[in-house]
Symmetry: C2
Subunit: 213 residues, 2 copies
């Protein structure tokens, strides 16, 4: 399954760094083997997002990686993204599908079995499952833990001949990644573990190696 593999090392951009620095780290992560880049910057205006989107589109194309936009379907359309990722309070899956057409990838964040059932029923292309571990950026309500991840992964397998790929997110590091993969994740979504790494390329390479095992 090509999509499942492409979701392996899934970098979500940081909001803390400036634009130029953010793009530099994205480039290094791709150099290290990141397979998907999600543009997620909730506090940037549209014009900056379009500019970043174009830059990430060029880089991901050169590295045969996926480029996904968080929430803003308009930015995804303008910058020729491969898809959109939405949370439970963002535009609903069906509405995103209307705007993007049938061929683009739509990922949906879920943190409970019920949300996972809904997203699978909608035929989301992949599930973003988390938070697996507590993180500073997410409230306790969204915590699903390794146990929750496992239950959702089982659900995705049981119900379907072709299981919906699962990308785990939330506090994932090279240390805990083996447990996350063991629990059924196909992809590892990370922010800080790459964006804040001394050497982002090396950090991405580490995750690639863990996936290859």
């Amino acid at each position: 399954d090509v999509l499942k593999d492409k979701l392996g090392v899934y970098l979500v951009t940081d909001e803390r760094t400036d634009v130029a620095n953010c793009l530099r780290v994205v480039h290094q992560a791709l150099e290290g083997g990141a397979t998907t880049i999600q543009l997620r910057r909730k506090h940037d205006d549209g014009r900056v997002l379009v500019e970043m989107g174009h830059a990430i589109r060029e880089m991901t194309r050169a590295y045969h990686a996926l480029y996904i936009v968080n929430d803003r379907v308009d930015i995804a359309l303008l910058t020729d993204a491969d898809g959109v990722h939405v949370g439970q309070s963002d535009i609903a899956y069906k509405d995103v599908r209307k705007l993007l057409g049938k061929d683009k990838i739509i990922g949906v964040s879920v943190s409970s079995l019920e949300e996972a059932k809904g997203a699978i029923h909608d035929r989301a292309d992949y599930l973003g499952v988390g938070s697996v571990f507590p993180t500073s950026s997410k409230s306790d309500a969204d915590l699903c833990g390794i146990r929750g991840l496992q239950e959702i992964a089982n659900l995705a397998r049981e119900r379907q001949t072709k299981p919906t790929p699962i990308v785990a997110i939330g506090g994932i590091t090279a240390t805990n990644a083996p447990d996350v993969l063991q629990a059924g994740a196909h992809g590892l979504a990370v922010v800080s573990a790459i964006m804040q790494a001394q050497n982002p390329a090396e950090a991405a390479r580490n995750f690639c190696n863990l996936l290859a095992k």
Copy 2:
């Protein structure tokens, strides 16, 4: 000119009130004669914006008013808005046009002659000019004053056989509205003067009467 008239009493939604209350005030403003409703809520997530957009679309249709979405082209597309309003740091006019097609209305915020020249050159359907008066929500950098409004209105008239309609915004009240219209504005964009009024319908009616003079 139908568009110019439709922009007369231009209500921009408040961010301070809750969704139900916001929609109730919009309804009252339409009852009082508001001619355009702009959905502008920077801190709401996509799903809430879609819900509000559908509600405003229904109400504005019933009252033959325009429904414009601030910044989010995706929300405008999903809720069948009449157009989109963008600021200088939002998605650029040309990009908005690509997504919306040629028939929808696109308004552009300008606060200087130079920005106005750019927007007129782009063929924006109308200009949002301001802030005319200081407001709590805008920095000093964006203040153009009555003088700036007048210069921009003159520019729009001089350069074109069919002047670009001008909607003034920023601190406009029933008291200062006559000066704003005298300076060349075709429309009065207001937030607090209607959203925070004891009687929003009456407040809207007052502005209608000032425009009719």
